[in-house]
Amino acid sequence: MPQLHLDEQMTDTTARKKPTKKEKERLWLEHFRKAYQGEFPAGVVKYDENPDVLVIDPARIVGIEITEFHLIDGGLPQSEPQQALRRAGVVEEARRLYLAEGGKDIELTFGFRYISADRRKKLPAELAAFAKRIENNVSEMIWLEASSTPEEIAFAWNAGVYQNTVWKVQQVNKGSLTSKDKLVEIIRSKEEKVKGYQKCDAYWLLICVNFSDPAQDQEIRIDDPYVHSDVFERIFMFKSVFNEIVAVK
């Protein structure tokens, strides 16, 4: 079996089951160790709980905590996982409405803006009406301003009528720089948790960013990444695919 890239291993759900939390932690640490040019703690690596990894050397034990940097907590409505669910639901309902009104069997692709809870209910009908308006604009990219109707649609592509058509979402996400406030929030939260962890001589924190996950992808090379911590000896941000490492402490 060919070696998959880190992001593929994290997200490949076609041929393999999704990796467990422990499998992901192992992948992150292995890839970080390969990419890290500095001095990694000497000793035997043991995957554990609280903290996630122990590097055991007769002289000292280093505990490494591994976490992923989600731009927005996954449970919040504005997070990418929640928005993805809304987009899929809206498109499915809109297609049903469009076909029920005698629409053609066209293939449409939509790019969305943010969908609020209020607009989620009204949007399928508006999208079905929009599909009706563009049903003859075949094979052209249709860009919509935020003031257009529906305001949540950024662009659409009508492939026309052919066999096995579907309506689908092609999401384009804006890039963002790592938020220092969010970074500090993650570190402080982990500092609190470490108080209940097994005793180690030092703790490291590895904050990972999965490039291929739109809920995480961000530019981690910010101008001033330094964050003080009395708990962690070293703190790193690590981004897959690019193998970028930013020393936060």
Binding site: T109, S139, W157, A159, G160, Y162, Q163
Partner: protein, 103 residues
């Protein structure tokens, strides 16, 4: 714009199948200008847009396992080379041929 051209369908895989070239074909190529925007890291990003091709006399079945397409005009000028794009349209039947996209 319509051209007389050689269409080469390429399967970029480990199966080792050679490219298939169909000489003297009639194709219509519709290009869209790239869009640009400033990235958050300060570099200008270029977003290339799909090129839509109508291949008159082509067949959808030819595109099974195909990943890349090269089109060279009959006088030898390269017209198009890129990956077969399935994001917006799969290769599909049109009147007298097949339509597909390349990026």
């Amino acid at each position: 714009m319509r051209y007389r051209a050689d269409v080469t369908l390429i399967e970029n895989s480990a199966r080792g199948f050679p490219p298939k070239t169909f000489a003297g074909q009639s194709v219509e190529i519709r290009r869209v200008a790239p869009i640009t925007s400033m990235g958050v890291d300060g570099t200008l990003s270029v977003g290339y847009q799909p090129t839509t091709v109508r291949w008159f006399g082509g067949e959808v079945a030819r595109f099974e396992h195909i990943t890349n397409v090269r089109i060279v005009s009959s006088d030898g000028n390269p017209l198009l080379e890129g990956g077969l794009l399935l994001t917006y349209e799969a290769p599909h039947v049109i009147s007298g041929g097949v339509q597909f996209q390349v990026l």
